[in-house]
């Protein structure tokens, strides 16, 4: 943009006059190294011991590829669904007063708190061909349990609070006057939502998407019950890793883990870039 002063290359953001920048930066780096970087480096180290040819063989093995497809595909679909419905839920919780609102509000956090296995078993019971919901869907020819669709449902359940809780505070910040301004300028409800409100929420929605997606990719406990775990069909990558571990094939396990790590990192990086771009624009 021509009006903003040209950035003088890349540099540290000027520390504020309040002291503590050096100390806190040092601490953060040390902490992140200890908690995140060293374990991840260990992972990469292990898989590096494999040698390139073997690594490539595992990476392109059809079962690995399928498992990765299932994991990332279902996580993306579930995160997209959550973005839509999570935003609606957050909107309703902020904007409307209705009996039981506080209960609904508290319920949103349940997937955070519930042991994932419990969630998985509950969902499986509901969606199994003889379960409450499953038997309704069966005649329609829709199979949920033991298919990727089941995985998506489990991930929607797990990921919902991430979207709601990131979008909610931003909706709370929206000044009602902004909506009123749009109305006085002649915008109807739909135009106000699509042109004024949603663009303002976009950064938060992207964050919610990233969190829900990341959680979905890594999710294990709730998925393995409902997924049925058929290789090539509904087997998720984390499960494949566990299977390899149980076979004492540590090299293969770490190789798959490294691929997941790389893909996740790439996606989160892209999402972060999108966000910093939009932040720069909207200030």
């Amino acid at each position: 943009m021509s009006t903003t002063p040209a950035q003088a290359g890349w540099r540290f953001k000027a520390p504020s006059v309040i002291p503590g920048f050096g100390l806190t930066l040092g601490f953060s780096l040390a902490y992140l190294t200890l908690i995140i970087l060293i374990p991840l480096a260990g992972l990469l180290w292990r898989s590096a011991s494999l040698g390139w040819a073997d690594f490539w063989a595992i990476a392109t093995d059809e079962r690995t590829v399928k498992a990765l497809e299932v994991s990332f595909g279902t996580a993306i679909v579930a995160a997209l669904v959550n973005v839509v419905f999570g935003t609606i839920v957050a909107w309703i919780l902020v904007r409307y007063r209705f009996p039981g609102r506080r209960i609904v509000d508290a319920m949103v956090d349940l997937p955070f708190a519930l042991p994932t296995a419990v969630a998985g078993i509950a969902l499986t019971t509901l969606y199994a061909p003889n379960g409450w919901i499953g038997q309704l869907l069966m005649p329609l020819g829709i199979k949920v349990a033991y298919t990727p669709l089941g995985i998506v449902i489990a991930l929607i359940f797990i990921g919902l609070p991430f979207v709601v809780r990131t979008v909610q505070p931003i909706i709370e910040e929206i000044d009602k006057e902004v909506e009123e301004a749009a109305a006085t300028l002649g915008a109807n409800r739909w135009q106000t939502i699509s042109r004024v409100l949603l663009p303002g929420l976009a950064p938060a929605i992207v964050t919610g998407f990233a969190l829900a997606f990341a959680r979905g990719v890594g999710e294990y406990g709730s998925v393995i019950f409902i997924a049925g775990n058929l290789p090539y069909v509904s087997e998720i990558a984390p499960l494949l890793i566990v299977i390899r571990l149980e076979e004492y094939d540590y090299a293969a396990a770490t190789a798959i883990a490294s691929i997941m790590l790389g893909l996740s990192f790439a996606m989160l990086l892209v999402i972060n870039l999108i966000q910093s771009w939009s932040r720069k624009r909207y200030g």
């Binding site: 301004a181 109305a183 300028l185 109807n188 663009p199 200030g283």
Partner: protein, 347 residues
């Protein structure tokens, strides 16, 4: 466009924010709603815009009843106290918004919208800021963009809620003159809300003084300053001093003595309150029919001296303004008579 507010009442839950308010706004007029915080100014403005529905009464645009027309249909330009700009849009997109959301048939082309935005930016004296985002503007600039955005839709009425309320004194004064110029250039019927009397008196063709959900007086700056019709207006606009008095035999009395103010406009006998401006007094040497008191406090205020006098046995205190040369030493006795004054019966 003429706007007529007719016997409008507005209740929030059961709290009445406006009682039976009527007001005629002439086409092309610049009118100020002036009153203390909570007097219902914003509520009245929002009712005209259609952002609130009246509990009772009608609002006419021209001779059409607009009371139940939607906000979108009313075509009013509303400038919010805190600007309410769309922060993810550039200045040009903010200004063009009202044109962009028009239905296809009446929507100008992209290029025309852009041109109109540039024109309006020039009008509000912010040329060249088309591509800025609101976050990159100062408060005064945002306020101007908000006004340009409201004017872009060629509104029938322009409504401004405390347009300069959030700005510092210097900028306020500048924008005041600027708003007057814009109004003269465009001729929009304009209603603005303020709690700053100086702003209202200086800027508006007519001032509507409000208090506690009622209109106290409507008039030009001279009307409301020189001929207040209620104790509230006397006290709210300009400085005023008050003294409890009695009306009897066509005279105003302070503790059993007439003070030389004959009743001319038929105020009823009985207890009353005398209102006058501290600077509109004549000092007298001898006191045959005047107000006299002893100086209990004296302050230098800019070019004048303000003294507080204790009057008579009731120990009532009034403030008057004296020339600087006047010594006004403590305990000295001063006699005066208000040049311009009014008595209102004590309720």
């Amino acid at each position: 466009m003429e706007v007529r507010v007719s016997n409008v009442r507005k209740e929030f839950a059961t709290f009445p924010a406006l009682h039976d308010v009527s007001l005629d706004i002439k086409s092309g007029e610049l009118i100020a709603l002036l009153g203390p915080s909570g007097s219902g100014k914003t509520t009245l403005l929002r009712l005209i815009a259609g952002l609130e529905e009246p509990t009772r009464g009608q609002i006419y645009f021209g001779d059409q009843d607009a009371s139940h027309r939607s906000i979108q249909e009313r075509n009013v330009g509303f400038v919010f106290q805190h600007y309410a700009l769309f922060r993810h849009m550039t200045v040009a997109d903010n200004i063009g918004f009202g044109l962009k959301v028009r239905p296809g048939a009446t929507r100008p082309s992209k290029a025309d919208i852009r041109r109109r935005a540039t024109e309006l930016l020039n009008l509000v004296q912010l040329p060249g800021l088309e591509n800025r985002y609101p976050a990159q503007l100062s408060g005064g600039q945002r306020q101007r963009v908000a006004l340009a955005r409201a004017m872009a839709i060629e509104p029938k009425v322009l409504l401004l809620d405390e347009p300069f309320g959030a700005l510092d004194a210097q900028v306020r004064r500048e924008l005041r003159r600027w708003l007057r110029e814009i109004h003269e250039a465009t001729g929009h019927t304009t209603v603005f809300v303020t709690h700053d009397q100086e702003e209202a008196l200086e800027l508006a063709d007519r001032v509507v003084v409000m208090s506690q959900g009622r209109i106290e007086q409507v008039g030009t700056a001279d009307d409301v300053y020189d001929h207040p019709t209620s104790p509230f207006v006397y006290g709210f606009i300009g400085d005023s001093s008050t003294l409890p008095v009695k009306v009897e035999n066509g005279q105003v009395w302070v503790s059993d003595r007439p003070i030389g103010l004959p009743i001319t406009s038929g105020e009823p006998d009985g207890p009353a309150t005398l209102y006058f401006r501290p600077h509109e007094v004549d000092l007298l040497d001898d006191c045959g029919g005047c107000i006299a008191g002893t100086v209990v406090a004296s302050r230098r205020v800019a070019g004048t001296r303000r003294v507080e006098l204790e009057i008579g046995g009731g120990r009532e205190r009034v403030e008057i303004e004296l020339p600087i040369e006047h010594a006004a030493t403590q305990k000295s006795r001063i006699a005066f008579r208000p040049r311009r004054w009014k008595v209102f019966p004590t309720a």
